[in-house]
Symmetry: C2
Subunit: 301 residues, 2 copies
Protein backbone atom coordinates (compact mmCIF):
# COMPACT_ATOMS: atom_id res chain seq x y z
CA UNK A 1 0.00 0.00 0.00
CA UNK A 2 1.33 3.43 -0.91
CA UNK A 3 2.69 5.34 2.07
CA UNK A 4 2.13 2.54 4.52
CA UNK A 5 4.10 2.89 7.78
CA UNK A 6 4.51 6.63 7.60
CA UNK A 7 3.07 9.30 9.88
CA UNK A 8 3.03 13.10 10.04
CA UNK A 9 4.85 15.34 12.54
CA UNK A 10 3.36 18.83 12.88
CA UNK A 11 4.63 22.00 14.54
CA UNK A 12 1.63 24.33 14.68
CA UNK A 13 2.85 27.65 16.07
CA UNK A 14 1.24 31.06 16.40
CA UNK A 15 2.61 32.35 13.09
CA UNK A 16 3.33 29.24 11.02
CA UNK A 17 2.38 25.65 10.41
CA UNK A 18 4.97 23.07 9.39
CA UNK A 19 4.54 19.34 8.73
CA UNK A 20 6.87 16.46 7.90
CA UNK A 21 5.94 13.09 6.41
CA UNK A 22 8.08 10.59 8.27
CA UNK A 23 8.64 6.95 7.33
CA UNK A 24 8.68 3.96 9.65
CA UNK A 25 12.42 4.40 10.22
CA UNK A 26 12.13 8.07 11.21
CA UNK A 27 13.41 9.48 7.90
CA UNK A 28 11.78 12.57 6.43
CA UNK A 29 9.95 11.77 3.18
CA UNK A 30 8.43 15.21 2.59
CA UNK A 31 8.24 18.66 4.20
CA UNK A 32 5.19 20.89 3.98
CA UNK A 33 4.41 24.32 5.34
CA UNK A 34 1.65 26.90 5.45
CA UNK A 35 1.29 30.47 6.69
CA UNK A 36 -1.90 29.49 8.57
CA UNK A 37 -0.49 29.82 12.09
CA UNK A 38 -2.78 29.30 15.06
CA UNK A 39 -2.97 33.07 15.61
CA UNK A 40 -4.86 33.59 12.37
CA UNK A 41 -7.42 30.77 12.73
CA UNK A 42 -10.71 30.17 14.52
CA UNK A 43 -11.15 26.66 15.97
CA UNK A 44 -13.50 25.68 13.12
CA UNK A 45 -10.88 26.48 10.49
CA UNK A 46 -8.16 24.08 11.67
CA UNK A 47 -9.53 20.85 10.03
CA UNK A 48 -9.71 22.34 6.53
CA UNK A 49 -6.22 23.87 6.82
CA UNK A 50 -4.77 20.52 7.90
CA UNK A 51 -6.69 18.58 5.23
CA UNK A 52 -5.41 20.90 2.52
CA UNK A 53 -1.82 20.83 3.81
CA UNK A 54 -1.76 17.02 3.97
CA UNK A 55 -3.51 16.43 0.60
CA UNK A 56 -0.20 15.40 -1.04
CA UNK A 57 0.54 12.83 1.68
CA UNK A 58 -0.63 9.37 0.57
CA UNK A 59 -2.39 6.85 2.81
CA UNK A 60 -5.91 5.88 3.94
CA UNK A 61 -5.22 6.71 7.55
CA UNK A 62 -2.72 9.33 8.64
CA UNK A 63 -1.45 9.43 12.19
CA UNK A 64 -0.68 13.12 12.87
CA UNK A 65 1.15 14.29 15.99
CA UNK A 66 1.00 18.02 16.65
CA UNK A 67 2.94 20.23 19.05
CA UNK A 68 2.66 23.96 19.69
CA UNK A 69 0.04 26.63 20.05
CA UNK A 70 -2.69 24.63 18.26
CA UNK A 71 -3.22 23.15 21.75
CA UNK A 72 -3.72 26.51 23.45
CA UNK A 73 -7.07 27.64 24.82
CA UNK A 74 -7.39 30.02 21.84
CA UNK A 75 -6.19 27.28 19.44
CA UNK A 76 -7.86 24.25 17.92
CA UNK A 77 -8.53 22.25 21.06
CA UNK A 78 -7.02 22.89 24.46
CA UNK A 79 -4.47 20.31 25.59
CA UNK A 80 -4.25 20.95 29.34
CA UNK A 81 -0.76 21.72 30.67
CA UNK A 82 1.30 19.08 32.45
CA UNK A 83 2.79 20.35 35.70
CA UNK A 84 6.54 20.73 36.11
CA UNK A 85 8.47 18.71 37.17
CA UNK A 86 7.23 16.74 34.14
CA UNK A 87 8.43 13.50 32.58
CA UNK A 88 8.52 14.55 28.94
CA UNK A 89 8.80 10.96 27.72
CA UNK A 90 5.14 10.63 28.69
CA UNK A 91 4.05 13.78 26.81
CA UNK A 92 1.74 11.82 24.48
CA UNK A 93 -0.24 10.57 27.49
CA UNK A 94 -1.55 14.12 27.82
CA UNK A 95 -2.43 14.53 24.14
CA UNK A 96 -5.96 15.53 23.11
CA UNK A 97 -7.79 14.40 19.97
CA UNK A 98 -9.51 17.27 18.15
CA UNK A 99 -12.51 16.60 15.93
CA UNK A 100 -11.91 15.97 12.21
CA UNK A 101 -14.98 15.85 9.95
CA UNK A 102 -13.39 13.16 7.77
CA UNK A 103 -11.64 10.00 8.96
CA UNK A 104 -8.41 9.88 6.94
CA UNK A 105 -6.51 12.22 9.25
CA UNK A 106 -6.23 11.22 12.91
CA UNK A 107 -4.65 14.14 14.80
CA UNK A 108 -3.39 14.33 18.37
CA UNK A 109 -2.20 17.52 20.02
CA UNK A 110 0.56 17.35 22.65
CA UNK A 111 0.18 19.30 25.89
CA UNK A 112 2.32 22.17 27.09
CA UNK A 113 3.91 22.33 30.54
CA UNK A 114 3.25 24.82 33.34
CA UNK A 115 4.46 25.93 36.76
CA UNK A 116 1.54 26.77 39.06
CA UNK A 117 3.48 27.92 42.14
CA UNK A 118 2.19 31.43 42.98
CA UNK A 119 4.84 34.03 42.11
CA UNK A 120 6.64 31.57 39.81
CA UNK A 121 3.75 30.85 37.43
CA UNK A 122 4.88 29.98 33.94
CA UNK A 123 3.76 28.25 30.75
CA UNK A 124 5.32 26.76 27.63
CA UNK A 125 3.76 25.20 24.55
CA UNK A 126 6.00 23.72 21.86
CA UNK A 127 9.29 24.15 23.73
CA UNK A 128 8.55 21.03 25.86
CA UNK A 129 8.66 19.01 22.62
CA UNK A 130 12.01 20.54 21.67
CA UNK A 131 13.32 19.72 25.16
CA UNK A 132 12.23 16.12 24.75
CA UNK A 133 14.01 16.21 21.39
CA UNK A 134 17.16 17.51 23.04
CA UNK A 135 16.98 14.71 25.60
CA UNK A 136 16.84 12.26 22.67
CA UNK A 137 19.65 13.97 20.73
CA UNK A 138 21.91 14.26 23.80
CA UNK A 139 21.08 11.26 25.98
CA UNK A 140 21.83 11.80 29.66
CA UNK A 141 22.10 15.58 29.35
CA UNK A 142 21.48 17.34 32.64
CA UNK A 143 21.46 21.08 33.13
CA UNK A 144 20.26 24.41 31.80
CA UNK A 145 18.79 24.76 28.31
CA UNK A 146 18.02 28.24 26.97
CA UNK A 147 15.52 28.82 24.17
CA UNK A 148 15.87 32.41 22.91
CA UNK A 149 12.76 33.93 21.38
CA UNK A 150 9.85 36.31 21.83
CA UNK A 151 9.49 34.74 25.27
CA UNK A 152 12.84 33.06 26.00
CA UNK A 153 12.62 29.91 28.04
CA UNK A 154 15.20 28.86 30.63
CA UNK A 155 14.69 25.20 31.46
CA UNK A 156 16.42 22.82 33.87
CA UNK A 157 16.43 19.43 32.19
CA UNK A 158 17.47 16.14 33.78
CA UNK A 159 17.35 13.43 31.13
CA UNK A 160 13.75 13.61 29.91
CA UNK A 161 12.48 15.24 33.09
CA UNK A 162 11.78 18.96 32.90
CA UNK A 163 12.50 20.06 36.50
CA UNK A 164 11.55 23.72 36.28
CA UNK A 165 11.56 26.63 33.86
CA UNK A 166 11.12 30.37 33.56
CA UNK A 167 10.19 32.62 30.64
CA UNK A 168 11.73 36.03 29.95
CA UNK A 169 9.86 38.53 27.76
CA UNK A 170 13.11 39.78 26.23
CA UNK A 171 12.14 39.49 22.55
CA UNK A 172 8.72 41.01 23.01
CA UNK A 173 10.01 43.87 25.19
CA UNK A 174 12.48 44.67 22.41
CA UNK A 175 9.69 44.77 19.82
CA UNK A 176 7.19 46.88 21.78
CA UNK A 177 9.81 49.40 22.88
CA UNK A 178 11.25 49.64 19.37
CA UNK A 179 7.82 50.16 17.82
CA UNK A 180 5.73 52.00 20.41
CA UNK A 181 7.92 53.79 22.99
CA UNK A 182 9.91 57.03 22.88
CA UNK A 183 12.91 54.85 21.95
CA UNK A 184 11.41 54.51 18.45
CA UNK A 185 12.74 58.01 17.67
CA UNK A 186 16.27 56.61 18.08
CA UNK A 187 15.47 53.55 15.96
CA UNK A 188 14.27 55.00 12.67
CA UNK A 189 15.36 53.59 9.33
CA UNK A 190 17.86 50.84 8.58
CA UNK A 191 18.84 49.07 11.81
CA UNK A 192 21.35 46.54 10.52
CA UNK A 193 24.30 48.83 9.82
CA UNK A 194 27.91 48.34 10.87
CA UNK A 195 27.45 50.10 14.21
CA UNK A 196 25.00 47.49 15.42
CA UNK A 197 27.67 45.14 16.78
CA UNK A 198 29.34 47.95 18.73
CA UNK A 199 25.98 48.96 20.20
CA UNK A 200 25.20 45.35 21.10
CA UNK A 201 28.55 45.00 22.91
CA UNK A 202 28.00 48.19 24.92
CA UNK A 203 24.40 47.33 25.82
CA UNK A 204 25.33 43.76 26.68
CA UNK A 205 28.04 44.90 29.06
CA UNK A 206 25.66 47.28 30.85
CA UNK A 207 22.82 44.74 30.95
CA UNK A 208 25.02 41.96 32.35
CA UNK A 209 26.59 44.32 34.87
CA UNK A 210 23.39 45.99 36.09
CA UNK A 211 20.34 43.85 35.29
CA UNK A 212 18.58 45.38 38.31
CA UNK A 213 18.73 48.82 36.66
CA UNK A 214 16.86 47.88 33.50
CA UNK A 215 14.00 50.42 33.84
CA UNK A 216 16.71 53.11 33.98
CA UNK A 217 19.31 51.79 31.54
CA UNK A 218 16.68 51.42 28.79
CA UNK A 219 16.39 55.22 28.74
CA UNK A 220 20.09 55.41 27.76
CA UNK A 221 19.02 54.29 24.27
CA UNK A 222 17.19 57.59 23.84
CA UNK A 223 19.57 59.82 25.79
CA UNK A 224 22.60 58.36 24.01
CA UNK A 225 21.21 59.19 20.61
CA UNK A 226 20.04 62.68 21.69
CA UNK A 227 23.31 63.68 23.31
CA UNK A 228 26.01 61.65 21.62
CA UNK A 229 24.48 61.20 18.18
CA UNK A 230 24.28 57.40 18.39
CA UNK A 231 23.11 55.96 15.06
CA UNK A 232 19.92 53.91 14.68
CA UNK A 233 21.86 50.64 14.14
CA UNK A 234 23.98 51.38 17.23
CA UNK A 235 20.85 52.13 19.25
CA UNK A 236 19.10 48.95 18.05
CA UNK A 237 22.15 46.88 18.95
CA UNK A 238 22.40 48.61 22.32
CA UNK A 239 18.73 47.92 23.12
CA UNK A 240 19.08 44.29 22.09
CA UNK A 241 22.30 43.84 24.09
CA UNK A 242 20.85 45.57 27.14
CA UNK A 243 17.80 43.28 27.24
CA UNK A 244 19.67 40.04 26.54
CA UNK A 245 22.33 41.08 29.04
CA UNK A 246 19.70 41.81 31.70
CA UNK A 247 17.98 38.47 30.99
CA UNK A 248 21.24 36.57 31.50
CA UNK A 249 22.72 38.79 34.20
CA UNK A 250 19.59 38.49 36.33
CA UNK A 251 19.51 34.70 36.18
CA UNK A 252 23.17 33.81 36.76
CA UNK A 253 22.16 31.45 39.57
CA UNK A 254 20.68 29.13 36.91
CA UNK A 255 24.05 28.86 35.15
CA UNK A 256 26.52 26.11 36.03
CA UNK A 257 29.85 25.16 34.46
CA UNK A 258 28.07 22.82 32.01
CA UNK A 259 27.71 23.80 28.36
CA UNK A 260 24.29 25.39 27.67
CA UNK A 261 22.36 24.15 24.62
CA UNK A 262 20.64 27.07 22.85
CA UNK A 263 17.53 26.27 20.82
CA UNK A 264 16.06 29.07 18.70
CA UNK A 265 16.47 31.02 15.47
CA UNK A 266 20.07 31.06 14.19
CA UNK A 267 20.31 34.88 14.32
CA UNK A 268 19.08 35.09 17.90
CA UNK A 269 21.19 32.12 19.03
CA UNK A 270 24.30 33.87 17.68
CA UNK A 271 23.55 36.88 19.90
CA UNK A 272 22.96 34.65 22.94
CA UNK A 273 26.18 32.73 22.23
CA UNK A 274 28.10 36.01 22.40
CA UNK A 275 26.19 37.03 25.50
CA UNK A 276 26.75 33.79 27.42
CA UNK A 277 30.43 33.87 26.47
CA UNK A 278 30.68 37.41 27.85
CA UNK A 279 28.94 36.19 31.03
CA UNK A 280 31.66 33.55 31.42
CA UNK A 281 29.44 30.62 30.44
CA UNK A 282 29.76 28.05 27.67
CA UNK A 283 26.98 27.52 25.16
CA UNK A 284 26.33 25.78 21.85
CA UNK A 285 23.56 26.06 19.26
CA UNK A 286 21.16 23.18 18.63
CA UNK A 287 19.13 23.40 15.42
CA UNK A 288 15.55 24.21 16.42
CA UNK A 289 13.90 22.13 13.69
CA UNK A 290 16.09 19.13 14.56
CA UNK A 291 14.98 19.46 18.19
CA UNK A 292 11.28 19.74 17.26
CA UNK A 293 11.43 16.71 14.98
CA UNK A 294 13.39 14.62 17.47
CA UNK A 295 10.84 15.58 20.12
CA UNK A 296 7.81 14.63 18.03
CA UNK A 297 9.45 11.29 17.16
CA UNK A 298 10.31 10.62 20.80
CA UNK A 299 6.81 11.58 21.95
CA UNK A 300 5.29 9.10 19.50
CA UNK A 301 7.29 6.08 20.62
CA UNK B 1 -1.10 101.25 34.06
CA UNK B 2 -3.30 98.13 34.05
CA UNK B 3 -1.40 94.96 34.89
CA UNK B 4 1.87 96.71 35.64
CA UNK B 5 4.37 94.63 37.66
CA UNK B 6 2.98 91.27 36.72
CA UNK B 7 4.56 88.55 34.57
CA UNK B 8 3.54 85.15 33.23
CA UNK B 9 4.87 81.74 34.30
CA UNK B 10 4.37 78.98 31.71
CA UNK B 11 4.72 75.21 31.91
CA UNK B 12 4.68 73.99 28.31
CA UNK B 13 4.76 70.21 28.37
CA UNK B 14 4.31 67.56 25.70
CA UNK B 15 0.55 67.16 26.32
CA UNK B 16 -0.54 70.40 27.95
CA UNK B 17 0.15 74.09 28.27
CA UNK B 18 -0.47 75.95 31.52
CA UNK B 19 0.11 79.61 32.37
CA UNK B 20 -0.18 81.74 35.51
CA UNK B 21 -0.37 85.52 35.72
CA UNK B 22 1.77 86.45 38.71
CA UNK B 23 1.91 89.82 40.45
CA UNK B 24 4.99 91.65 41.66
CA UNK B 25 4.74 89.92 45.06
CA UNK B 26 4.58 86.42 43.57
CA UNK B 27 0.84 85.92 44.07
CA UNK B 28 -1.20 84.20 41.36
CA UNK B 29 -3.67 86.60 39.75
CA UNK B 30 -5.02 84.23 37.09
CA UNK B 31 -4.54 80.65 35.80
CA UNK B 32 -4.88 79.69 32.16
CA UNK B 33 -4.54 76.41 30.31
CA UNK B 34 -4.74 74.93 26.85
CA UNK B 35 -4.61 71.45 25.35
CA UNK B 36 -1.99 72.62 22.83
CA UNK B 37 0.95 70.69 24.24
CA UNK B 38 4.30 70.81 22.45
CA UNK B 39 3.69 67.34 21.01
CA UNK B 40 0.82 68.60 18.84
CA UNK B 41 2.49 71.75 17.47
CA UNK B 42 4.92 72.66 14.71
CA UNK B 43 7.42 75.41 15.61
CA UNK B 44 5.48 77.98 13.57
CA UNK B 45 2.31 77.39 15.57
CA UNK B 46 3.67 78.28 19.04
CA UNK B 47 3.38 82.09 18.78
CA UNK B 48 -0.33 82.06 17.87
CA UNK B 49 -1.14 79.55 20.63
CA UNK B 50 0.65 81.69 23.22
CA UNK B 51 -0.91 84.92 21.91
CA UNK B 52 -4.38 83.41 22.16
CA UNK B 53 -3.80 81.94 25.61
CA UNK B 54 -2.49 85.24 26.99
CA UNK B 55 -5.13 87.45 25.36
CA UNK B 56 -6.94 87.93 28.72
CA UNK B 57 -3.75 89.04 30.47
CA UNK B 58 -3.51 92.87 30.52
CA UNK B 59 -0.33 94.84 29.87
CA UNK B 60 1.65 96.38 26.99
CA UNK B 61 4.67 94.18 27.57
CA UNK B 62 4.42 90.72 29.08
CA UNK B 63 7.48 89.03 30.44
CA UNK B 64 6.83 85.27 29.93
CA UNK B 65 9.08 82.61 31.43
CA UNK B 66 8.57 79.10 30.02
CA UNK B 67 9.78 75.71 31.22
CA UNK B 68 9.29 72.28 29.70
CA UNK B 69 9.27 70.58 26.33
CA UNK B 70 8.70 73.83 24.36
CA UNK B 71 12.51 74.08 24.60
CA UNK B 72 13.14 70.65 23.06
CA UNK B 73 14.68 70.21 19.62
CA UNK B 74 11.22 69.23 18.31
CA UNK B 75 9.59 72.13 20.23
CA UNK B 76 9.40 75.87 19.62
CA UNK B 77 13.08 76.75 19.88
CA UNK B 78 15.78 74.53 21.31
CA UNK B 79 17.17 75.64 24.66
CA UNK B 80 20.46 73.69 24.87
CA UNK B 81 20.85 71.49 27.96
CA UNK B 82 22.95 72.57 30.91
CA UNK B 83 25.35 69.85 32.05
CA UNK B 84 24.95 68.23 35.46
CA UNK B 85 26.22 69.04 38.02
CA UNK B 86 24.21 72.22 37.35
CA UNK B 87 23.56 75.28 39.51
CA UNK B 88 19.80 75.59 39.01
CA UNK B 89 19.72 79.12 40.45
CA UNK B 90 21.36 80.18 37.18
CA UNK B 91 18.84 78.37 34.98
CA UNK B 92 17.68 81.65 33.35
CA UNK B 93 21.22 82.32 32.10
CA UNK B 94 20.65 79.44 29.67
CA UNK B 95 17.24 80.64 28.48
CA UNK B 96 16.60 81.21 24.77
CA UNK B 97 14.33 83.85 23.27
CA UNK B 98 12.05 82.47 20.54
CA UNK B 99 10.73 84.74 17.84
CA UNK B 100 7.33 86.43 18.38
CA UNK B 101 5.79 88.27 15.42
CA UNK B 102 4.30 90.92 17.71
CA UNK B 103 6.09 92.74 20.51
CA UNK B 104 3.67 92.58 23.45
CA UNK B 105 4.76 89.12 24.56
CA UNK B 106 8.45 88.64 25.41
CA UNK B 107 9.02 84.92 25.99
CA UNK B 108 12.08 83.14 27.32
CA UNK B 109 12.42 79.35 27.42
CA UNK B 110 14.45 77.75 30.21
CA UNK B 111 16.96 75.01 29.37
CA UNK B 112 16.81 71.38 30.48
CA UNK B 113 19.72 69.56 32.10
CA UNK B 114 21.67 66.59 30.79
CA UNK B 115 24.33 64.05 31.75
CA UNK B 116 26.74 63.40 28.86
CA UNK B 117 28.93 60.71 30.46
CA UNK B 118 28.86 57.71 28.08
CA UNK B 119 26.78 54.91 29.60
CA UNK B 120 25.08 57.32 31.99
CA UNK B 121 23.56 59.68 29.41
CA UNK B 122 20.37 61.31 30.55
CA UNK B 123 18.13 64.30 29.90
CA UNK B 124 15.40 66.22 31.69
CA UNK B 125 13.26 69.15 30.59
CA UNK B 126 10.81 70.69 33.03
CA UNK B 127 11.85 68.69 36.08
CA UNK B 128 14.92 70.92 36.61
CA UNK B 129 12.51 73.81 37.20
CA UNK B 130 10.56 71.76 39.75
CA UNK B 131 13.84 70.86 41.47
CA UNK B 132 14.76 74.54 41.66
CA UNK B 133 11.28 75.08 43.11
CA UNK B 134 11.85 72.39 45.71
CA UNK B 135 15.15 74.04 46.66
CA UNK B 136 13.19 77.28 47.20
CA UNK B 137 10.37 75.57 49.13
CA UNK B 138 12.75 73.55 51.32
CA UNK B 139 15.88 75.70 51.74
CA UNK B 140 19.00 73.70 52.49
CA UNK B 141 17.51 70.38 51.40
CA UNK B 142 20.16 67.86 50.41
CA UNK B 143 19.46 64.37 49.10
CA UNK B 144 17.40 62.28 46.75
CA UNK B 145 14.29 63.64 45.03
CA UNK B 146 12.11 61.25 43.02
CA UNK B 147 9.73 62.47 40.32
CA UNK B 148 7.39 59.62 39.33
CA UNK B 149 6.05 59.77 35.78
CA UNK B 150 6.24 58.39 32.27
CA UNK B 151 9.99 58.70 32.69
CA UNK B 152 10.61 58.90 36.44
CA UNK B 153 13.54 61.06 37.47
CA UNK B 154 15.81 60.30 40.41
CA UNK B 155 17.82 63.40 41.25
CA UNK B 156 20.49 64.13 43.83
CA UNK B 157 19.97 67.72 44.92
CA UNK B 158 22.30 69.75 47.13
CA UNK B 159 20.65 73.11 47.79
CA UNK B 160 20.10 74.49 44.30
CA UNK B 161 22.79 72.33 42.74
CA UNK B 162 21.59 69.31 40.78
CA UNK B 163 24.48 66.88 41.28
CA UNK B 164 23.32 63.99 39.11
CA UNK B 165 20.18 62.24 37.97
CA UNK B 166 18.81 59.18 36.23
CA UNK B 167 15.55 58.49 34.40
CA UNK B 168 13.59 55.24 34.61
CA UNK B 169 11.10 54.36 31.86
CA UNK B 170 8.71 52.78 34.38
CA UNK B 171 5.52 54.61 33.36
CA UNK B 172 6.09 54.16 29.65
CA UNK B 173 7.03 50.47 29.99
CA UNK B 174 3.75 49.96 31.86
CA UNK B 175 1.79 51.64 29.06
CA UNK B 176 3.41 49.86 26.11
CA UNK B 177 3.22 46.43 27.75
CA UNK B 178 -0.40 47.01 28.79
CA UNK B 179 -1.41 48.13 25.31
CA UNK B 180 0.81 46.23 22.89
CA UNK B 181 2.28 43.08 24.45
CA UNK B 182 0.85 39.62 25.20
CA UNK B 183 0.12 40.98 28.69
CA UNK B 184 -2.78 42.95 27.20
CA UNK B 185 -4.83 39.72 27.18
CA UNK B 186 -4.64 39.73 30.99
CA UNK B 187 -5.53 43.42 31.18
CA UNK B 188 -8.85 43.64 29.36
CA UNK B 189 -11.75 45.69 30.66
CA UNK B 190 -12.03 47.64 33.89
CA UNK B 191 -8.64 47.79 35.63
CA UNK B 192 -9.50 49.73 38.78
CA UNK B 193 -11.38 47.03 40.72
CA UNK B 194 -10.86 46.01 44.33
CA UNK B 195 -8.18 43.42 43.49
CA UNK B 196 -5.85 46.08 42.18
CA UNK B 197 -4.32 46.85 45.57
CA UNK B 198 -3.64 43.17 46.29
CA UNK B 199 -1.99 42.81 42.88
CA UNK B 200 0.09 45.93 43.46
CA UNK B 201 1.30 44.58 46.82
CA UNK B 202 2.31 41.22 45.32
CA UNK B 203 4.04 42.78 42.29
CA UNK B 204 5.78 45.36 44.46
CA UNK B 205 7.19 42.69 46.75
CA UNK B 206 8.54 40.68 43.80
CA UNK B 207 9.92 43.76 42.02
CA UNK B 208 11.68 45.07 45.13
CA UNK B 209 13.05 41.63 45.94
CA UNK B 210 14.25 40.69 42.44
CA UNK B 211 14.67 43.80 40.29
CA UNK B 212 17.34 41.96 38.29
CA UNK B 213 14.73 39.43 37.14
CA UNK B 214 12.38 41.93 35.51
CA UNK B 215 12.42 40.44 31.98
CA UNK B 216 11.24 37.17 33.58
CA UNK B 217 8.91 38.39 36.33
CA UNK B 218 6.91 40.49 33.82
CA UNK B 219 5.75 37.22 32.24
CA UNK B 220 4.13 36.27 35.57
CA UNK B 221 1.40 38.79 34.75
CA UNK B 222 0.31 36.59 31.86
CA UNK B 223 1.02 33.19 33.41
CA UNK B 224 -0.72 34.16 36.67
CA UNK B 225 -3.92 35.05 34.86
CA UNK B 226 -3.77 31.96 32.61
CA UNK B 227 -3.12 29.49 35.43
CA UNK B 228 -4.55 31.05 38.56
CA UNK B 229 -7.38 33.10 37.10
CA UNK B 230 -5.99 36.46 38.25
CA UNK B 231 -8.46 39.25 37.45
CA UNK B 232 -7.63 42.17 35.15
CA UNK B 233 -7.47 44.67 38.06
CA UNK B 234 -5.17 42.29 39.98
CA UNK B 235 -2.96 41.89 36.91
CA UNK B 236 -2.82 45.65 36.30
CA UNK B 237 -1.86 46.24 39.93
CA UNK B 238 0.72 43.45 39.77
CA UNK B 239 2.32 44.91 36.62
CA UNK B 240 2.41 48.39 38.15
CA UNK B 241 3.85 47.09 41.44
CA UNK B 242 6.43 44.96 39.67
CA UNK B 243 7.75 47.88 37.61
CA UNK B 244 7.77 50.42 40.45
CA UNK B 245 9.33 47.81 42.73
CA UNK B 246 12.06 47.06 40.18
CA UNK B 247 12.72 50.79 39.68
CA UNK B 248 13.22 51.30 43.41
CA UNK B 249 14.81 47.94 44.20
CA UNK B 250 17.43 48.42 41.50
CA UNK B 251 18.46 51.86 42.74
CA UNK B 252 18.64 51.33 46.50
CA UNK B 253 22.17 52.74 46.53
CA UNK B 254 20.65 56.17 45.79
CA UNK B 255 18.49 56.00 48.94
CA UNK B 256 19.74 57.38 52.26
CA UNK B 257 17.98 57.76 55.60
CA UNK B 258 16.72 61.24 54.62
CA UNK B 259 13.07 61.74 53.71
CA UNK B 260 12.54 61.62 49.93
CA UNK B 261 10.40 64.36 48.37
CA UNK B 262 8.14 62.92 45.64
CA UNK B 263 7.03 65.29 42.88
CA UNK B 264 4.44 64.00 40.39
CA UNK B 265 0.76 63.27 39.90
CA UNK B 266 -1.08 62.57 43.18
CA UNK B 267 -2.18 59.06 42.10
CA UNK B 268 1.32 58.02 41.09
CA UNK B 269 2.93 59.61 44.15
CA UNK B 270 0.59 57.58 46.38
CA UNK B 271 1.87 54.36 44.78
CA UNK B 272 5.49 55.46 45.17
CA UNK B 273 4.86 56.42 48.82
CA UNK B 274 3.67 52.86 49.48
CA UNK B 275 6.60 51.45 47.54
CA UNK B 276 9.28 53.51 49.30
CA UNK B 277 7.74 52.63 52.65
CA UNK B 278 7.90 48.94 51.76
CA UNK B 279 11.55 49.44 50.73
CA UNK B 280 12.24 50.81 54.20
CA UNK B 281 12.62 54.44 53.09
CA UNK B 282 10.78 57.59 54.14
CA UNK B 283 9.07 59.78 51.54
CA UNK B 284 6.62 62.68 51.34
CA UNK B 285 4.60 64.18 48.50
CA UNK B 286 5.30 67.68 47.22
CA UNK B 287 2.61 69.24 45.03
CA UNK B 288 3.92 69.25 41.45
CA UNK B 289 2.29 72.55 40.47
CA UNK B 290 3.64 74.23 43.62
CA UNK B 291 7.12 73.03 42.68
CA UNK B 292 6.80 74.22 39.07
CA UNK B 293 5.58 77.66 40.12
CA UNK B 294 8.20 78.04 42.84
CA UNK B 295 10.83 77.05 40.28
CA UNK B 296 9.71 79.54 37.65
CA UNK B 297 9.63 82.29 40.29
CA UNK B 298 13.09 81.37 41.55
CA UNK B 299 14.48 81.19 38.02
CA UNK B 300 13.21 84.70 37.29
CA UNK B 301 14.85 86.37 40.30
Amino acid sequence: MAGSGHWVAVDWGTSNLRAWQIDGDGAIEASLSSPHGMGKLTPAEFPAVLTELLAPVPGDRLDVLICGMAGARQGWKEAPYLDAPADLSRLADGAVVPHMPEGRIVPRILPGVCVRTPGAEDVMRGEETQLLGLAALAPGFEGLVVMPGTHSKWALLDGHVLREFSSAMTGEIFEVLKTHSVLRHSLQGELSGADRDAGFEAGLELGLDKPERLTATLFKVRAGSLLNGRSAPYSAGFLSGLLIGAEIGGQRDWISSAEIPLIGSPALCTLYLTAFRKAGARARVVDATDATLAGLKAART
